[in-house]
Homo-oligomer: 284 residues x 4
């Protein structure tokens, strides 16, 4: 296999990137690890793709740990704060105690300022008006310029780098090596490709998924899309309701609704179920 | 809260036990950790149960890490081999290098010998005939007796404990302290309560679930049952098929079947889907 | 044991704090876990203190994992960036996606600006002149004020919190629950009490050591000071040199120096050895 | 670099082996990760070997996590029980639920039976008399033969594999893929090359050190030998005593002894210090 994605610098945001620098294993290593469980005498009954799909479907995660990948990254610190919450990974970050901070901060184009989401307390909605956006971008430049000037003035006056950096904005870019196994990379992607993830880290996750995962482990990426990214889980209560509806027992369905407290106004569980039910065209 | 389960020795198998010896936190600590994300000014909109259910439903796992539990366990080594594969836990096991091995091995009653499962390569099916079982239990006693005699003879002749133990049977009981956070305990229970888990470790998982989890964190245990233990996940392909069926588009459903390779004889994905579909009374 | 340190808010830096909120276990739990290795029949030969010292001396770390502690913390984000690099811990951080950022940034008094260290590329040296410090503190107020104003203006104009925060300074305080076992807490303290650790995080580590560790697990804290914090390790080469010097074989010592490349100017290994040798009054 | 050790099956014990199957990185990847901390503008002051020694000396462990290695192993289950206690690694073990257990148990030659150590409760001493050894080996064959016969009889009668295996001896060989990063491999080797580690696992550790580590990462292996394997740590009390002795203040040294409780008979700390002092020819 030629790994054409290796050492390619994939751009993300205005000045960030993802650059895969080394890999160990691939789809075939997942299969090899899974087969050790079957022992020497086992016939190769199922072919690789079916086996990988089986592992993914039943959350047999350990064979996916047998692959490893290492990236060189350039990410705004604000985004990096979320990134390092994924603990099962190895990290060597550019040190602003040893070196002068990267002279770049993430900037926002006037048309890219996002309104507070109305239905998701932690999220963003549509873009703000361009007139407002222009003013916001102007003010962004002002604060970023002053922050850098203050930083450089501190260094000029002899302040230690570790202290001088203290008022750099969270938008400042940092760089790092990041090494993670395939199982934990999938978990990172699952969480960071989610519609509720913040735009910035989603952009990185999408870049990794599109340019790296699909090229590196195509069978795993396909199974991951089917069984994780685009799958839907129904709870015990939801399964009962669906069984009642499919069985034509509307009264029973209503009764389950009531017992679950779903008849309260603004009940969140019901709202989420109805969205999922719409997805499969369930009529009730 | 009085924790009546603390220091109770719950028996498992013929000579094993589970004894919870200490806990930190509970449902209220999960809630407290989740609320730190909302900041000081946030009104307590949703009550605790709804919040815990929300966290469980959306796999927001970190608040569940805020609770911790410690057990004293007595488990056959064969079962313990599976147990310690759960790495995110702390363990101090009884050392047979320092001390003489526990003088007890797991025994099997004549009516408890399990036949190899016909449809699950790693599992067991129904019980063997009692006549055969009697012979098996007799032979079990013989091998266990000889193994212990050999062990004790080695010790008598001055062999080091660490070497003398080498031919003890896997059925020998061991003891340990085992400490784990609630999130990882749930993961342990999810995997070890699964119908495909081996009978022996399922017995321990069931004991912990029934006697400890439900008493310690009742809201979490309920949410876990609804959203994990008794939930069902449908893949991207399965959702498409369900949408086609529910929409009365049988031909489209058949076409998706075909494209997914489900018309092959003994296709495993189809067989699993049909089981799930039956559960919700989907007719097609 | 009354745990008088629980729920006490210990101040750190200008506006931070450490507040222990819950513990599981203590010195006695370390001992209990260590003893399980000795089995039921073992006499209590050594008393607890000696056992804990033995465990610490020989890096038998697993019994220390049997204790757990949970803190509520308030820390500047710059410092928190270092803190979360300790991966074997559980964290729930205040979310500035959900809530408005804490309205406080770490400020520096005019007499507390630190000069870049001359002999340690990552560290700080003595304080800068007060006249310069006054100017630096004035500029600090300016950048922090503008950053907050910009943040609040963004919120006022409807920008999503997750985006509005992007140019907050690293000095902004954050809050979190942090839960860790005793073994990993010791490792945190070892690294963060080190003279090369940054001043800010050292202040937190010192506060935890003084006010929490010594009160919670006094025997462990004492052994940790003797065998880790204040211990010195000599390498294979250094041991050979010491043996030669103590044996009066100066020529041999010089020869080992030479072979190790220590006669090169500015050899770092030699410089470090000489500092350690001075500590034990080794004359050569 | 040609990695001549890859895919070589290095024999260990009577029927075990270590076979490295894949690696990521090497000494150069450690250096590369360490340098990211220095930033683009940093001159390459120190050459690679000195940098790796510096990292090892000061326990800067994260750059060593940037390398990864995967082994195929064959190990007696008794030894494997110790092996899997190293949690920061990925494992896929041969499953005796799916397949028939490996038909091989670790055997002991008549001259290799080890006496219980007199000074180390968990260890072994010299070998037992050959006459006794012959009898022990004969009995070993007997128990292993009966255990295998019982196992096969169970399978013949239709007992499920997962239950049939329950009385196999701990000496039965198992196989696994084992993947670990270099930092954690060093920690494994440090603990398992220790004189107090059990003979069997030491044999594996020595094999990995000799045949794999030194060939894969020669600079790291050398630094590891100097600063970890063959280094000695002196505690705070020991340093004080050494300073007093080197300063010719014998009375002070005696006083420190007394205060530390070292004048008690059979004091373990004193005994350990005297061994270390002898190593550097300290006279007192």
């Amino acid at each position: 296999m030629t790994k054409t994605f290796l050492n390619v610098q994939f751009p993300v945001l205005d000045d960030g990137f993802v650059r895969p620098v080394d890999v160990m294993g691939g789809d075939e290593a997942v299969v090899q690890a899974a087969r050790v469980s079957y022992g020497a005498g086992t016939k190769k009954v199922s072919e690789d793709r079916a086996l990988i799909r089986y592992l993914m479907r039943h959350r047999h995660t350990s064979p996916f740990e047998m692959c490893e990948i290492k990236f060189h990254l350039r990410v705004p610190m604000d985004c990096w704060r979320q990134w390092v919450r994924h603990r099962t990974a190895s990290v060597n970050e550019y040190s602003t105690r040893y070196s002068i901070a990267v002279n770049a901060a993430q900037t926002t184009a006037p048309e890219r300022w996002r309104r507070q989401s109305s239905d998701n307390k932690q999220g963003s909605g549509e873009f703000l008006d361009l007139v407002v956006g222009r003013e916001l971008s102007r003010a962004e430049t002002e604060i970023q310029t002053l922050a850098r000037k203050t930083y450089e003035e501190r260094l000029r006056l002899g302040v230690a780098r570790e202290q001088a950096r203290k008022d750099l904005p969270l938008s400042t870019y940092t760089e790092a090596y990041w090494k993670i196994d395939l199982h934990n990379l999938l978990r990172f992607l699952e969480l960071r490709l989610h519609p509720h993830a913040q735009h910035e880290i989603r952009a990185y996750a999408q870049c990794i998924y599109d340019n790296v995962l699909c090229a590196w482990v195509p069978m795993t990426a396909e199974a991951f899309a089917d069984y994780v990214l685009n799958a839907v889980t129904f709870s015990a209560v939801e399964l009962q309701i669906m069984a009642a509806i499919n069985g034509g027992r509307a009264a029973e369905a209503a009764e389950i609704y009531r017992r679950a407290g779903w008849d309260a106004p603004k009940n969140r569980e019901r709202a989420e179920f109805e969205k999922k039910a719409a997805k499969i065209g369930l009529k009730f």
